[in-house]
């Protein structure tokens, strides 16, 4: 690379690098041990639900998707060979399920979609926060968060999932590449485009 700079190359992750406890947990789940399945859910449910929430933007949808994700995990866990960390493998399932659900949702409810601005015009603004302690500050934060989520929702799903996995979940390029099933170079370009689009929309923040 020019001037001696290079990006870290992707490396293979083997069973030996996966924690032995995690490997044992996976094997017990594959054998149909209910306690192990419960343990796996407890360890990863918050992570799965948060990623689903960030990708879908709805609590109940995210909860429903989380359940589907774990069922999918247990149906296919016998195929998990430690080609990545268990967490990354689950991330991959979350992203795929979320993508499928959004496609389905768009097909089914495309005609019924209403923009947020139109909803506010028809039904009034969102209710102000009920915390009297710091109303201005809290309200400002909520407004900012709402703007950010609106900007995120405006991104294509591929860019949105890449930026969420990087900035919010803190995954490395290799992990994002595995989770999305794409090359590291594609991860970089999607991140660059997502950041450019977000900065253009949130310039005054």
């Amino acid at each position: 690379m020019a001037e001696g700079l290079s990006v870290k190359p992707a490396r293979a992750i083997t069973w030996s690098e996966v924690a032995s406890r995690e490997a044992a947990l996976v094997q017990r789940c594959a054998a149909g041990d209910d306690d192990a399945c419960g343990e796996l859910v407890s360890e990863h449910q918050r992570m799965v639900h948060q990623l689903a929430l960030h990708l879908l933007g709805d609590y109940n949808e995210a909860l429903d998707l989380s359940q589907e994700v774990f069922l999918r995990v247990f149906r296919t866990i016998h195929r998990f060979r430690g080609q990545s960390a268990l967490r990354t493998w689950i991330y991959r399932i979350v992203v795929n399920q979320a993508r499928n659900r959004m496609r389905w949702w768009r097909r089914r409810y495309r005609a019924q979609q209403v923009s947020l601005d139109e909803h506010i015009r028809n039904h009034g603004d969102l209710p102000a926060p009920g915390n009297p302690a710091a109303p201005d500050r809290l309200f400002g934060q909520k407004q900012l968060a709402a703007r950010i989520w609106k900007a995120l929702d405006g991104l294509p799903f591929d860019q949105k999932s890449a930026i969420v996995l990087r900035e919010i979940d803190g995954l490395s390029y290799d992990e994002i590449a595995f989770s999305l099933g794409i090359a590291v170079g594609t991860v970089k370009s999607r991140l660059a485009r997502a950041r450019e689009a977000l900065r253009a929309q949130l310039r005054d923040v």
Binding site: E3, S6, C37, S66, K188
Partner: protein, 240 residues
Amino acid sequence: MTPLSCASVRRRLTAYHDRELSIEQLIAIEAHLDGCPPCATEAAGLETLGESLRLAAATLQPGTDMLAGLQPGIISRMKAENAQSWRAQFGRMFEDMHLVWIGLGSAMATIICSALALACLHFASPERDDSLAGIIATMVSSRANLVRQVPADTYDDVVGNALVRSMSEEEAVLALAAVVTRDGRLIDPRWVENDRDRQQILDLMSAIETSRFDTTRAGGASVNMVWLFAHTTVRGKIVG
């Protein structure tokens, strides 16, 4: 260490922000940012964007009670799916033998019914002589099968005898033996073993002799084969 240009730093700013560079590269870029306010502003913009996203994510933190029902729900749904799976249902079929006996009884009933039906067919009344099956059977079993090769010198006897033998009393009017030429003419028609209405038969034979069959053509060439219909009743009418 070689100082980096602004263009070079900008190209790697996202990788720097994501900490996806080696230590040497990180140090080189940090050194450049210390002395380059425009690049530092660009890097700060990326940092602000990341913090904003994390801040927005923090506002969506679900309550602990929201996830409380997730684990038992998943486990119970897994159990329900396993209980309704094809493998489980197949296994349950053999928990007791009632379905097996039903299956075996059905199979036996089918076999018995089939055997009875075949026996009925076997012992049914034999076919009539004047039915199509009977005629075909007669032709096959007799020497009247005109499809086979017949020596020319025995032609008259073979055809004549076979036709007369295969005809019933009511339907037989006459039996003819003739030769069909290549151009479709009947030559040398002869009446075989029938002495009724001799003059009418001779007149009919004369009419047949002057008639002409259409020759078969295949691919533009004349075919030297004429299909002869045997055991066919011709009811002729002689005018005058």
